[in-house]
């Protein structure tokens, strides 16, 4: 009995962890109007319905664009800052690092609220671009921290060798540093993508007419439970999982070997 106890706990924990996800996915195949028991189906009608909905597909494309743009900017800025701080002696570098990490300690709601206040006071309109700016603010600390932690002495030696062989700074960065740091840069990029893809509150506060997918799902929620929501939710989950598994299989595994 005592030997079984840990395994029973593990089983119960997994039921708790997977109960909402399993319910969500199962009733996305519901052949009926309500995503609650009894289950009838399976049917793919709600997936067809969701993929034929032009508002949802537009929101999906917006989400991908915002995630891609915000991640590219966050990783580029994060990499440059990490390179500058790791390779150059700068006065107040501890302060700079603290400043770059600071947005991580503040909730997304407050980041979004601050930007909303500034934008409305400045009379600037809200759009996907302003939401993207907010996403860079929350992803930059993460990208910087991941890449900075990966910068070590072995790259520095290779960089010196390249310089001795006549490479200029640009060539050193693009041909030596970036390839050697590819796992960390990849991890930073994919993590940024998932955070941006799943992010709701900043997008909700900072977009107006064109919205991202989580904001569109939010407005669908007002009409209550529906298998359509299950279908789109399952698709969103599938994309997040695909990105995380890619990260696990290709980036982290490579780094460990």
């Amino acid at each position: 009995m005592m030997r079984l106890l840990p395994w029973m706990y593990l089983a119960v924990a997994f039921v708790f962890i997977y109960l909402p996800v399993a319910t969500l996915v199962l009733f996305s195949f519901q052949d009926g109007q309500l995503p609650v028991p009894p289950f009838n189906g399976p049917s793919l009608r709600w997936y067809g319905d969701v993929l034929g909905d032009s508002r949802l597909t537009a929101a999906l494309i917006n989400s991908v664009l915002v995630a891609l743009g915000a991640s590219l900017i966050a990783v580029t800025l994060g990499f440059l800052a990490a390179y500058g701080l790791a390779r150059h002696v700068l006065p107040g570098s501890a302060l700079i690092r603290a400043l770059l990490i600071a947005p991580l300690t503040v909730s997304y709601l407050i980041v979004g609220l601050g930007l909303l206040i500034v934008l409305t006071q400045a009379g600037l309109g809200l759009s996907l671009v302003t939401a993207g700016i907010g996403h860079v603010v929350i992803n930059l600390p993460l990208a910087f921290a991941i890449i900075f932690a990966a910068m070590g002495a072995q790259q520095q030696n290779a960089e010196r060798a390249a310089r001795d062989l006549g490479a200029n700074e640009m060539q050193v960065i693009l041909l030596v540093t970036v390839p050697m740091l590819a796992p960390a840069i990849g991890a930073a990029f994919f993590l940024s993508m998932t955070f941006s893809w799943d992010e709701f509150i900043i997008s909700f506060l900072l977009t107006r007419f064109d919205v991202t997918l989580p904001v569109e799902i939010w407005s669908m929620l007002r009409s209550g439970l529906s298998p359509r929501l299950n279908a789109i939710g399952s698709l969103v989950f599938l994309v997040s999982i695909a990105v995380v598994l890619t990260l696990e299989l290709f980036v982290f595994r490579k780094r460990r070997s």
């Binding site: 840990p6 150059h88 609220l113 206040i117 439970l225």
Partner: protein, 283 residues
């Protein structure tokens, strides 16, 4: 070694990220602070140094109530999540065979990566009046009438705990596997029982990991708008929900800003309380 030219080049690399953080995080933050000291006359904003918004927090019951509700929910969630996650992390670290550990951990935190809007909706499905939990209990004859589970504090706490158990399992597991097995052996050689070993050796050694995870839970939980809004309904409002109400109904930016500053104040107090054990650089 460092010449002025190299230093200038160093600044060139750091500048874009610094400028971005300054323009889109520091400046908005300062403006928000100033906004919390402004007042609203009808629809016109009057900048100034008024503490009227903060005074309102003490005077108006619904504002005060929101702070209490937020604190109650956040503390409950933090404690329950730690208590549930610790055994889970322990079992994965010490009971699951080494070669399956990584897979077990990956599976235990996979739903962590669901969008929080979708995750809260999924819990709404589970807890709905005719949802899975009620239907199952009715069929088993455990209850005669469906229970009201959705749109309650219970639903909000459940949704939060689900998320943070996964997060904490990850941080506590990382802490447990770093422990050298020699500590356990030494304690047991000296005659400590399993419980004594845990209480006096393992627990103190993993405390920094627990406190770091609990602090993260506290910060993320108290600032979240989505989970209480979807799962808790409008029966009682948390601070983020009240902030969103101010933005929507009256466009009362000064009061919303003051509430945000209060939220940050609470997080700062939590940080100071936990600072002794916090290892934020080890996350």
């Amino acid at each position: 070694m460092t010449t002025t030219g190299q230093r200038a080049q160093g600044w060139g690399f750091v500048a874009p990220a610094l400028l971005w953080t300054f323009a889109f995080f520091i400046v908005p933050f300062i403006v928000m602070g100033a906004m919390s000291l402004a007042t609203l006359d009808g629809r016109t904003l009057i900048w100034g140094l008024s503490f009227q918004n903060y005074a309102e927090l003490a005077e108006k019951r619904f504002l005060w109530r929101a702070i209490v509700v937020s604190l109650e929910i956040t503390l409950t969630v933090t404690v329950v999540s730690v208590v549930l996650a610790y055994p889970l992390a322990w079992i994965i670290a010490f009971n699951v065979p080494k070669r399956w550990q990584r897979l077990a951990l990956l599976l235990a935190i996979l739903p962590f990566w669901t969008s929080y809007v979708v995750r809260s909706y999924a819990w709404l499905l589970v807890l709905a009046r005719d949802g899975v939990v009620n239907q199952t209990m009715l069929n088993l004859g455990l209850i005669a009438e469906p229970l009201t589970l959705a749109n309650t504090r219970f639903a909000t706490v459940t949704g939060f705990v689900h998320f943070f158990v996964m997060l904490l399992t990850l941080t506590i597991y990382a802490n447990l596997v770093q422990l050298s097995p020699n500590y356990r052996r030494a304690a047991q050689d000296l005659g400590a029982s399993a419980f004594q070993t845990f209480r006096h050796v393992i627990l103190p050694l993993t405390l920094p990991g627990i406190v770091t995870g609990a602090f993260l839970t506290f910060v993320l939980c108290i600032g979240d708008y989505v989970t209480p809004q979807i799962l808790g309904g409008n029966t009682e409002l948390t601070v983020p929900q009240v902030i969103m109400v101010q933005l929507g109904r009256r466009a009362d930016f000064p009061l919303a800003a003051a509430l945000a500053i209060v939220l940050m104040g609470i997080v700062t107090v939590a940080y100071l309380a936990a600072a002794r054990w916090l290892r934020l650089d080890r996350i």
